[in-house]
């Protein structure tokens, strides 16, 4: 008899006690959307196009994000301003296809395309998940604050002449024979 009580009843009481104690634990449920979750900065969510520290569009329309994309959901067209700077004429992401893999961010040579911690992208109409450049472009540098591709690249653009990029000597004078 005692053995029966020890094997069953005590177990029941302990269980009840544990359930009761849990009533005072910190709750795991997040009151979303009233309480916003804390996302890690490296979370791969909504994709943005950033600007360089000078406030210009970082994207140079090199097409590397589009070719890296495993679901082919990025399409863009290169354009060029009068002074040689490349930029996308249009830049479109079909978020209804995007799998948030982040390959585009890895492929981007200018840190223009970045994935952000924002994940709130649900729409009632699928067509609304197609985002154009105007929807994607933000007014800041995003996660990478200092990088400006054109300060490194050799191509001449407005405001940066030949020889003014990082680690560049002034343009050579072809007519000089001096060493």
């Amino acid at each position: 008899m005692l053995r029966l009580i020890k094997d069953t009843l005590i177990s029941q009481v302990v269980t009840l006690w544990r359930v009761f104690v849990h009533a005072f634990d910190k709750t795991d449920t997040v009151e979303y959307p009233d309480v916003q979750p804390q996302m890690a900065a490296r979370w791969r969510g909504r994709i943005i196009l950033s600007r360089d520290p000078d406030g210009e569009e970082r994207c140079v329309a090199c097409n590397l994000c589009a070719v890296a994309c495993p679901v082919d959901c990025i399409a863009l067209q290169k354009a060029e301003d009068d002074e040689g700077r490349w930029y996308p004429e249009f830049f479109r992401i079909n978020f209804s296809r995007c799998i948030m893999c982040g390959f585009c961010e890895e492929a981007c040579p200018t840190n223009a395309i970045q994935l952000t911690p924002d994940f709130e992208m649900a729409e009632y109409v699928r067509q609304d998940m197609v985002w154009e450049k105007e929807d994607l472009l933000i007014n800041g540098t995003g996660k990478y604050h200092d990088y400006n591709f054109y300060r490194v690249a050799g191509k001449k653009i407005g405001g940066k002449d030949k020889g003014e990029a990082r680690n560049e000597a002034p343009p050579v004078d072809v007519r000089s024979l001096l060493p």
């Binding site: 082919d72 959901c73 479109r92 079909n94 040579p109 690249a153 050799g154 030949k162 000597a169 060493p179």
Partner: protein, 937 residues
Amino acid sequence: MAKITVDGIVYEVNPQNNLLQECLSHGLDLPYFCWHPCMGSVGACRQCAVKQYRNADDKIGTVVMSCMTPASDGAIISIADAQAVKMRSSVIESLMISHPHDCPVCEEGGECHLQDMTQMSGHNYRRYDFKKVTHRNQNLGPFINHEMNRCIACYRCVRYYDDYAGGKDLAALGAHHHVYFGRQEEGTLESEFSGNLVEVCPTGVFTDKTFSEHYTRKWDLQTAPSICTGCGAGCNTTPGERYGTLRRIVNRYHHDLNGYFLCDRGRFGYGFNSSDNRITEASLVSSHADEKGVRKPLTQQEAQRQFDALTAGDVVGIGSPRASLESNLALRARVGVKNFYAGFSAEQQRCMQAVIAINREQGLHCPDIRTLEQADCVLVVNEDITNTSPRFALALRQAVRNRAAQLATDARIPLWQDAAVRELAQNELSPLFILSPQGTRLDDVATETFLSTIAQQVALLSAIANTIDASVGTAATDEDSAEQARRIAAALISATKPTIVSGTSAGSEALIHATANVARALRKYSVQSAAINLCFAMPEVNTMGLALLMEEGGGTLDEALQRLARGNADAAIVLENDLSLRTTPAAIDAAIAGTDSGSAVWVVIDQLHNSFNARAQLLLPVTSFAEQNSTFVNYEGRAQSSHQVFPADAALRPGYEWLTPHDPLSPLLTTSETILFHSAQTLAAFAGAEKLLPPRTGMQALMKSPRQLHRYSGRTAMHAHSNVHESKQPTDRQSPMAFSMEGLSLQKDSSLLSAAWAPGWNSNQAISKFQDEINGELKQGCKGVHLLQRTLPPQSAMAVNSAKAGKKGTFVVYFIDHIFGSDELSAKSPAITARSVGPYLCIGKSEATALGLHQHGLARVSNGDHVVELPVLIRQRIAAGAVGIYCGAEINRHLFAGSVSVAPVNEDDNVLARSRQMFSDLIINDSLINNSESGRG
């Protein structure tokens, strides 16, 4: 055959070649920069280093440059040897020291030989911490972008541009690490073949400016094997499309024809496809009384219904030398042979009949372009080939170097030792004689240029034929021309591969017969009775195709217009043809008046708007070469397939679809394949053409070839702005290709080579992976089908009526062609328009002085009935008693054929300034022009 050992594996090689070429021929990956399959080796870049061992016992070996080492029998080399690998990676590291951080904003990126070779050599991190050398760029004109920072100084550009293509204005300038590849001063590149720099340059120094304006990476282009429509040479091209517009044209290797190079008209003349001038919808002139003359757009179904209703009765059909063979065949089938008329001018048609007969004659041979390159004595008769069939001119620039090849062979120098061969030969060139009314762009390599009118040329050709074979032709009347004839005849007789090149652009039948007579006379001396090379350049892509079709019956254009003028037809269908270029305005006006009185209608099917088709009642838009499957026949009679690159706009249809009555039960009747197959079965002239159709066996019967590379991007986003639900890829029922990246892999089946790509080889240099050996045939590609067989026995020389001389006080007119502007379609491309000039009059210096004309002033040109005022270009090198007229699109050349009188016009400074501006763009080998105007040396 010799044997060499590469990394322990024995390969059979040709000992005449170098190790690099043989390694690449056997599919081995070995990086290189300065070597080019067409230009031999100079050993400048040191990138192709390999280890060579003296014998099997030698375990140490020496590093050698494979491009400078002959593939001699028993050679033992190693590509994978650690020292050789180290050497190659050090070399590329040094080459990259000053290379800018540019790839994302470089048009070459993704198809860059430098990127490929860097990957192959294993260099990935710049350790050099000092400053990069930078350069200023030059504006090189509307075709080529210049970004000198990217240069690795391999010298390929100047070796191509100066040594291969004969350009004078691109050079290696500066010294040591300041070396600069550009022009002495900024300005348009003069060579007609400058576009090949884009493919020859292994980096992004020279890139395609027209492509950059709507740039797309190579992997994103939809491409298909196509044929250039710029002239009748039939060069193979690869056009590329993205987002529904044609983006660029690059070369597609063809062993017999264009090889690795195109001319600038072919490469940059694609812009008309998406120009504002394009006919984009069908339209009908309203016949209602209250809105008479108003042109109303029609939907495709309405247009087809109207077309069928209007052309139900007795219909005249006028074909076109620039429409595909299928469209011409469909028109012929629709209207019947009796009602089918050629779209040639009258003299062009007579010339074509003569040329076809000559091309059927035994003992003569129509050389392909590769054979032209091998000629050791060339006679060019009248045709300004640099401007009418430019790829020939590039081939002749190689032909004159056969003397150098001969000297090198005698001195036992391998021909791939480019610098040594050039050093040995210095300025020794094979004989090239040119008969031309004015100085030509080939004069700098010509032995002699005889400035002569057509009549003088006919006389001289007769004298040459007579000197070669006294039973032919007539001897020269004066001692000068007898001496000229002897010089040319002697050179032709002593040559082993004498070659004669002419063309039909002068429209002179006598000249064609006189030219053929020289070839016929030469047969007596031909080495081992080899056939004598004789070819005629054709002005349009399908001139030969239409001429062959006319062999099967049909009338001339004049007959068609006369019949229409009599009101003897219910309708006229004009297929892709601007008749105002083919005949006089009076003949067209009479025909239109005749149809108006009989209330017959004109239906014009065309690509671009022009003054002629604006007068048509029903105008139907037609697809361009890139939007349809078609067959074109080149100057040799070689039929080649041109495949559709991208689906056309819904309103556009190929000519053969408009013309073939639609049968919903058998829609396949309207495909190009069915039409071609049917004609091959029924028309003798096209027997054998069915060999062009893709085999229906093996893998090809089950799978289609993809038009897109396997890394085509953006499929789920490119149309998402209009509809997020992706539609199915367009299906292609007509051809063995698919609008898709799926299908037969290029590595398995390259019979339809949409774009040259192989693993590790993203640039066009990947073509070596598809050749059976370097410079050899494509492994699987179709070379086309020869439709002309040599069935006629050798003919004796024909009697030639010499042309009449002009009246006293008048000048004999010859017409000038320009590579940029003379071709109807390409002239409407923005880049070509930027290089073309308006109509002008060309006159010799002494005549101009006698008449009181000034350089760039105005002259009144008159032939009695018609008068026109033209800017004057005074040239030093022009036949006495002749004036040249460049008509452009503005002047009808049929009005001024024959002879004209010229008088000065009082011009003001504005006119002078305007024409001076115009002529400054004109590039002519003529000291008078170049020195006085642009200061070019």
